[in-house]
Amino acid sequence: MRQLPEPYSSRRDTITFVICLIFAVTARLTPVTYAEAIASTIRETVLSPFLSLQDEIQQLRVWRVRFEEISARADSVSAIAGNVQGLMQENARLRAILGLRARMPVHHIAAEVLFQTQQTEGTTIIVSAGEREGVRRWAPVVAVGGLVGSVQTVDRNTSVVHTWTHPNFGAAVTALGDSVVGLVGPRFGEGATMMLELRDVSYEGEIPEGTTIFTSGLGGVYPRGIPVGRIRGVLDDRVGWSRSFLVEPAIHPAAVSHVLILLAETEDLSGAFERRQ
């Protein structure tokens, strides 16, 4: 065992530890707006070179995928497709996002999802586009398949996106044309992991299982026509004159590697997403 300095754990150590704990608790109790400002400052200063480095690595990853795609074409893709399944999936995702970009009728920017660090951040993601690219707060964020969430904090080069899993998420939606309207939000409680709940639907509103629900454009944040999820059944908790439905989300935040951030306001995105029901 290594010789340790004596006394090893002094009063100074304890006091320093307690001071750090007090600072940490204070940070935890700091109002969200101040906490976001502090976090944003840290990201733009201390973490900026690291995030830039990470962005470069992500770019290298994309270039590698493209390079592999070209090489695979040259060498006959069929022979090696079985060995590059992961790359093929990444290619498919990139091609899909390119297809969505082509169909998107509004000014937007593509961004990469930067990595997650802690266990709690299923509710937020950080993307590689910020103030410099024209991103603004509350800008809708979509991916191939549907709605991801909206921009909450904008830094110079990055932005924090609140996904639909965030407790504050809510969107006005419609289904079956405009015959059914309601509000959708994350579902909480036992066994409710990663599901959405469609609330405030008229008691007479019937929605068959498998029906896709879309944003209705009401509320001013999300334009009309973005897929949110598919109905998976009626929930038991019928209250008053409304009923609720369980919704399987169209997008799982953990599976998203690239997103589109809508930069200009628009009313209708119908037609931009495939397989509209």
Binding site: D13, V32, Q54, F115, Q119, G122, T123
Partner: protein, 165 residues
């Protein structure tokens, strides 16, 4: 960090771990299972430091982690401060120069960090919390420990770690 002759070399290893956190880790797949190199650097630092220094380092690392996941700002600072302090304090009781004991330190430290982050974050409840603690956190603790062992075995002389016969 202490002023042993290997201190500078260990510092380089810690710096490399910090860089790996932002370069290698994103390439390792699932974020919740990938080894946390930043935490690894903190724990290696803490095992070789006084509790006060380890607590300050833990707070610093935690705030940086919080900046990358602001939904529970402060939770990471709290968790990393406690883990850093306990790691430094624990070496007075156990035998940190032993590879197996160090593995236990790394595993417990990673799991405890995740537990405290989830607890202080307050965003995860019920079945989701259960799975986060028993599956994801244990998985990340294992991968982080394995990564830590690889670092220790590679730089064993610098870290002055022994192996039980």
């Amino acid at each position: 960090m202490n002023t042993q002759p290997s201190g500078f070399k260990v510092g380089l290893v810690l710096l490399a771990l910090v860089l790996m956190h932002f370069t290698v880790r994103p390439l390792l797949g699932n974020d919740r299972l990938a080894p946390d190199f930043l935490l690894l650097a903190l724990m290696f630092f803490a095992i070789r430091s006084r509790p006060a220094n380890a607590a300050v380092a833990g707070f610093t690392v935690g705030i940086l982690a919080d900046a990358l996941s602001p939904v529970a700002f402060g939770a990471g600072a709290l968790a990393h401060t406690v883990v850093g302090y306990l790691q430094a304090w624990g070496k007075a009781i156990f035998f940190p120069d032993n590879l197996l004991v160090t593995s236990g330190f790394l595993f417990f430290g990673c799991w405890l960090r995740n537990f405290l982050v989830l607890l202080a974050g307050g965003q995860t409840r019920g079945a989701e919390l259960f799975w986060a603690l028993t599956a994801w956190s244990v998985g990340q603790a294992i991968t982080t420990t394995v990564a830590g062992l690889l670092v220790l075995l590679t730089f064993r002389r610098w870290f002055k770690i022994g192996i039980i016969e």
